[in-house]
């Protein structure tokens, strides 16, 4: 992989990881957070929506780490 491609990938992955933090446990949760006055639970595939949201953004984090491991992080011997 060329240096330019690596730089671009690093930027994309950094943004994706930061986005996962802001959207997952951060203020992004307001997009789906049920209001306190809602009486029926918000579910997605039977799961509480907040739980499904956490699982999804964790998936994003895990993919970012995996791609970094494969394409960005270098061993000191390399």
């Amino acid at each position: 992989m060329t240096d330019l491609k690596r730089r671009r990938l690093r930027l994309v992955l950094t943004i994706a990881f930061a986005l996962a933090i802001v959207m997952g446990p951060g203020p992004g949760i307001y997009f789906i957070n049920p209001g306190s006055d809602e009486t029926t639970p918000r579910l997605l595939l039977g799961m509480p929506i907040v739980y499904a949201w956490a699982a999804f953004w964790f998936g994003v984090q895990a993919i970012v780490v995996l791609l970094s491991y494969l394409f960005l992080w270098r061993d000191s011997k390399s």
């Binding site: 990881f17 996962a20 933090i21 802001v22 997952g24 446990p25 951060g26 203020p27 992004g28 949760i29 307001y30 957070n33 049920p34 209001g35 306190s36 809602e38 009486t39 639970p41 918000r42 579910l43 039977g46 799961m47 509480p48 929506i49 907040v50 739980y51 949201w53 956490a54 699982a55 953004w57 964790f58 984090q61 895990a62 970012v64 780490v65 995996l66 970094s68 491991y69 992080w73 270098r74 061993d75 000191s76 011997k77």
Partner: protein, 566 residues
């Protein structure tokens, strides 16, 4: 071991027998690993603290994970999920952040540590900023403030565990004294941990961490599988969970604690703060090469959060649905059947597994309970070991007896381990006997305070490894102000100064900030501002010194000189 046998003899028949056998086997294996570590060891300080800097991938990843996974992971964090419902599940997202930092910070720390033979955090930070005694002392103090509450937490968990394993045995005889079951469990955990740390140093700690790491990962997954099966599979599980009241299915949770900003700052700073604590820092030095840390980082970032999200947190959610906490005039209290928030996992597995699987269920309960013990011991041993390094290398060797021999320092480090264990055990006993001693109330609260202190090393760490613009005065002022800021958030100012107008005002301000953000984050903001401002107006470090450090950070070929082991 006598104490363990007394515990076994005093307990209920079925669970007692199985739990006793599993427990005794587990403790015997730990002691054996301690002795094996001692046989393999060399009589040098570097070997006692860093196991010869040759730890391979499996040992590194398991020891880093086991140190990270404390009793808070199996008791405290599920306790918070039980209390606050789905909102606290998002806390698991701090772990990938820590995983990334194992590589980004860890590989740099390892490289320069190896090149310059550092053993403690103080070695690196004080050396970079001009080997000032004040910096070394402040770094050691931050380490102490992290380690002591963490060891206290683990010992407390040992007490809870004994109560859970042997519920019908109120008191046991130990060395002629009659003590309660909580006391017995706390004492047993402390003594066994202390023995194998004393005997084998880092090698024994790391080897036992491997066993403990596998046990507790297995325990977390097993508990979740059993709970889901007991509730009729995933469909039945989520159907039960969807019966939770609306406030337990959304943020900020029933206690109103977990606003998104608070959760996000906790996820960022709790994770990194846990990684720059003394025990983990030593593990970064001890890794064999960058590849080891790179693989460890991947496994940590993916496996650990999975164990929480798809493991132990499910048990706590089910517990909340089955045994909902109750609202009283004094606030939210656990269901009477649960007793304390932190006990939810123990109650759940003891209720569900034997009912579902009979004798096999009892065996699994025993294994999961021992996994909780493993989580506690693996963190306690790492922290005791790290504390002995900090006190001996950063305080005794520098300021008390600089002319001391390796042999003398080795004795001192072991004395520190004994003293720290007894101090932590004393605090736990005092807290248990005095219900009003609020600093020891809940495991997770202790965890956040300890991590918040550890976070105060973050600005200097980032500066050393990436920025290199800070000054000696800036680093010192930043760390001290960050520590003071965190201290103001703890219950200690009130305990020390009593009730007054000032304390009331302080409590109100810190209470507001605490409801919005993580304590560690608040400390880091103060720390960073002071660090930057003071560095702007004080004498910079000598450029040659900074360049030499940067060169060592980039050094690429020192691995070949280090013998491989583990």
């Amino acid at each position: 071991m006598m104490l363990c046998l007394s515990l076994v003899a005093a307990a209920t028949p079925s669970l007692t027998k199985v739990a006793g056998i599993v427990l005794v086997c587990y403790l015997l294996v730990l002691i054996s690993l301690g002795v094996a570590g001692w046989i393999q060891s060399k009589a040098t300080e570097e070997d006692f603290y860093l196991a010869g800097r040759g730890q391979g991938f499996i040992v590194t990843v398991m020891t880093v994970m086991a140190t990270f996974f404390s009793s808070a992971a199996i008791l405290g964090i599920p306790g918070n999920v039980y209390k606050d419902g789905v909102a606290f599940v998002l806390f698991a997202m701090n772990l990938p952040v820590a995983g990334v930092c194992i590589y980004l910070l860890g590989s740099r720390i390892r490289r320069v540590g190896r090149k310059r033979s550092y053993v403690t955090q103080g070695d690196m930070i004080a050396d970079y900023y001009g080997d000032t005694p004040a910096i070394r002392i402040v770094v050691a103090l931050i380490g102490f403030l992290y380690v002591l509450p963490y060891v206290v937490m683990q010992i407390k968990a040992g007490g809870y565990l004994a109560q859970g394993m042997f519920p019908d045995s109120e008191r046991v005889q130990f060395l002629g004294f009659e003590i309660g079951m909580f006391q017995a469990g706390a004492t047993a955990l402390s003594l066994v941990t202390m023995i194998y740390v004393l005997v084998g140093g880092m090698r024994s700690v790391a080897w036992t961490d491997v066993l403990q790491g596998f046990l507790l990962i297995g325990g977390m997954i097993l508990a979740a599988v059993a709970t889901v099966v007991a509730l009729g599979g995933l469909g039945g599980f989520f159907a039960k969970v969807s019966e939770l009241p609306p406030e337990a299915m959304s943020l900020p949770g029933p206690s109103g604690t977990w606003t998104p900003w608070k959760l996000m700052t906790v996820c960022l700073f709790a994770s990194v703060g846990s990684l720059v604590q003394p025990g983990q820092w030593i593990r970064l030095y001890a890794a064999r090469d960058d590849k080891t840390l790179k693989r460890s980082s991947l496994v940590f970032a993916v496996v650990l959060p999975s164990c929480f999200l798809f493991g132990i947190m499910l048990v706590a959610l089910a517990g909340r649905a089955l045994y909902p906490p109750e609202m009283t005039a004094a606030g939210m209290v656990p269901h009477p059947h649960v007793g304390e928030f932190d006990q939810i996992v123990i109650v759940m597995i003891k209720e569900q597994l034997p009912a579902l699987l009979g004798t096999l269920g009892v065996v699994l309960v025993a294994i999961i309970l021992v996994a909780v013990l493993a989580a506690s011991m693996s963190t306690a041993d790492s922290n005791l070991h790290a504390l002995s390094a900090v006190v001996t290398r950063d305080i005794y060797d520098r300021f008390v007896r600089p002319q001391s021999s390796q042999r003398e320092r080795s004795h001192v480090s072991r004395l520190v381990i004994v003293a720290a264990t007894l101090l932590a055990l004393g605090l736990v006993s005092f807290g248990h006997e005095n219900e009003s001693f609020s600093p020891l109330k809940m495991i997770a609260d202790l965890m956040f305070a300890a991590i918040a202190f550890s976070c105060q090393l973050l600005p200097v760490t980032i500066d050393m490894l990436f920025v290199r613009k800070g000054t000696k005065a800036g680093a010192l002022a930043g760390m001290i102000s960050g520590m003071v800021a965190v201290f103001l958030f703890t219950p200690f100012p009130g305990l020390l100064l009593g009730n007054s107008g000032f304390i009331d005002g302080l409590s109100s301000t810190t209470g507001t900030l605490k409801s919005l953000f993580d304590i560690g984050f608040c400390g880091v903001v103060v720390n960073t501002l002071v660090f930057v401002l003071v560095s702007r107006f004080t004498r910079p470090l000598a450029p040659k010194r900074v360049e030499a450090f940067a060169d060592d950070l980039r050094s690429k070929s020192t691995e070949e000189t280090i013998p491989k082991e583990s």
